[in-house]
């Protein structure tokens, strides 16, 4: 419990620091300092600059915020979809439940990283950066719900045979009312699902970015920043920058995992 609180606090501080860095006057993830390309750390650029002369610290911070915000939104969408599908499957006619669970199985069986790559690469190259970010997280959300929907379905089925459910029927409650009254009982199930989806999506977005299929330039993303790693000469010159990025990803995932433990 203490560990959880500590992790949540560190996470909150990380977000706050990133927000301060991004919001600082004159800081922008797209600003180019053409005098110093691939510069090492200095007082002007505490973490150096990239090949286009953009401040790495600002970009890492903006990427953290973007990645987290996107993942939280995607996770919310996924959890809501899972709640809807799971509840519908449990309370709808038997054929609906059967079909929904079959659909879940099909989705779970999909090699979803390849599917993500296919979907992203099918989009036109002229997609605007903001759209590419939105689409990336939307695709993640669209592929993330089935495992959660299965869990919700199981949970809702077990609620279906409870005394209070029978009593609610005895009171003449409508089908919709009964499903609605079930949702608060599923919160202990949905909340962890919501929380564990966030780091999974952060990771997935970083992976996609490292393949060049994630959030589009000039928007920063950790995956996109790691993309520069394929040039080993540059990696040798600037390893002191990428090591912190990798460390930050690990720390973030760890913190989220600990904070999300229910």
């Amino acid at each position: 419990m203490k560990l959880k609180c500590a992790a949540a606090c560190v996470l909150a501080m990380l977000i706050l620091v990133a927000a301060v860095i991004v919001a600082a006057p004159g800081a922008s993830y797209a600003n180019q300092d053409r005098e110093s390309l691939l510069a090492p750390a200095s007082t002007r650029h505490p973490a150096g600059t990239d090949a286009l002369g953009r401040d790495r610290l600002v970009r890492v911070s903006a990427a953290l915020l973007l990645s987290l915000a996107g993942s939280v939104a995607a996770s919310a969408v996924t959890t809501a979809a899972a709640a809807g599908v799971g509840a519908l499957a449990a309370f709808g006619p038997a054929t609906v439940g059967w079909t929904a669970m079959l659909l879940c199985d099909v989705f779970l069986a999909l090699p979803w990283l390849f599917l993500l790559m296919m979907v992203r690469s099918a989009l036109p190259l002229t997609t605007s950066p903001a759209n590419s970010a939105a689409i990336t997280f939307l695709v993640l959300a669209a592929l993330g719900w089935p495992a959660c929907a299965r869990a919700v379905y199981r949970g809702a089925l077990s609620l279906k045979t409870t005394e209070w459910m029978l009593y609610a029927r005895a009171g003449g409650l409508r089908g919709g009312q009964i499903v609605r009254s079930v949702i608060p009982n599923l919160v202990p199930l949905l909340l962890p699902q919501f929380l564990i989806s966030i780091p999974a999506f952060v990771m997935a977005e970083a992976n996609l970015g490292a393949l060049g299929l994630g959030v589009g330039e000039p928007l920063p993303s950790w995956g996109g920043m790691l993309l520069e790693l394929d040039n080993s000469a540059m990696l040798f010159d600037t390893r002191w920058v990428y090591f912190p990025v990798a460390l930050l990803v690990i720390v973030l995932l760890l913190l989220e995992a600990v904070a999300g433990e229910a």
Binding site: E163, L166, A168, A170, G171, G172, L173, R174, P184, N185
Partner: protein, 281 residues
């Protein structure tokens, strides 16, 4: 019209081909309290679910007729049955704690029960809830209504369930062992409350219980359910005429002869002066 019974039941029920109720006949007059007694496994719960048309939810099937005010409930569509449950027949369930949805407040329970059958403004509901809570001797403040079921006592939960059952002023209330989960003092209070509701509102009550002592405190007539059928049905003041073994064994199990238990019965609500109250256990 008024000589016609409120409820007339002729019923067979089975679970997966195994008969549970066989040729069960039951009649209930308006304003009457019928005590339905029987041991475990006699089919009491099955009968309760059958009357509410809920047996299919537990995987059973029914044949025969359940006539409520001249209308056969078994012939109704699920849609019409739903509109009738809670409005014309209400249930007071057995275990108060598990009958309330643990995740929502008491206020929400009243809201949902109201919305199932009424479209009137919330003000009407608020007034009705206040009236019911007062009648149930429950706190009427908003703080109480904001509580979750886990934050009230079992006795309070049972009173809330009685209030919920009364919400739409149903013609018939089925109480399915409403006191079995309660301590003796609370049991007595709940039995008193049900009696008062019957005397003041003329509420028709089917009181299902295995506890003949509380049944004698409350009922005008008892029906003994044995092996899925009504073995015997008698007014409480003519229990001496009982001939069936099922009835006789129940009477023998009483802590005192029925005449003595009946003499402790409160005659009416208007004589509110406390008489010595018999308590079992």
């Amino acid at each position: 019209m008024n000589s016609e019974p409120l409820l007339h039941v002729k019923l067979n029920a089975d679970y997966a081909g195994k008969p549970v109720l066989r040729d069960l006949h039951l009649e209930l007059a308006r304003g009457e309290v019928l005590g339905l007694v029987g041991g475990s496994g006699a089919g009491k719960s099955t009968l309760v679910l059958s009357l509410l048309g809920l047996l299919p939810w537990r995987g059973g099937s029914l044949s025969g007729e359940v006539m409520l005010e001249g209308e056969n409930l078994l012939m109704l569509s699920e849609r019409k049955l739903r509109a009738l449950r809670g409005r014309r027949i209400a249930l007071i369930p057995q275990s108060p704690m598990s009958a309330l949805n643990p995740a929502i407040s008491l206020q929400k329970h009243f809201d949902e029960a109201w919305r199932a059958h009424e479209k009137h403004a919330p003000a009407v509901l608020a007034a009705r809830v206040q009236q019911l809570l007062a009648e149930m001797q429950l706190p009427t403040d908003a703080e109480f209504l904001r509580r979750r079921p886990a934050q009230i006592s079992v006795g309070q939960a049972q009173r809330v369930l009685i209030a919920l059952a009364l919400l739409h002023r149903p013609a018939l209330i089925i109480a399915d062992e409403p006191t079995s989960a309660l301590d003796p003092v609370t049991q007595t209070q709940i039995v008193d409350l049900l009696r008062r509701l019957n005397r003041t509102h003329g509420m028709t009550l089917l009181y299902v219980s295995h506890d003949l002592v509380s049944v004698l405190q409350l009922s005008d007539r008892i029906a003994v359910l044995h092996a899925g059928t009504i073995a015997e049905s008698l007014p409480v003041d003519r229990l001496a005429e009982a001939r069936q073994e099922a009835t006789l064994s129940l009477l023998r199990a009483l802590p005192a002869p029925p005449e003595i238990l009946l003499s402790f019965r409160k005659p009416s609500v208007r004589g509110v002066h406390e008489e010595p109250q018999f308590q079992n256990c």
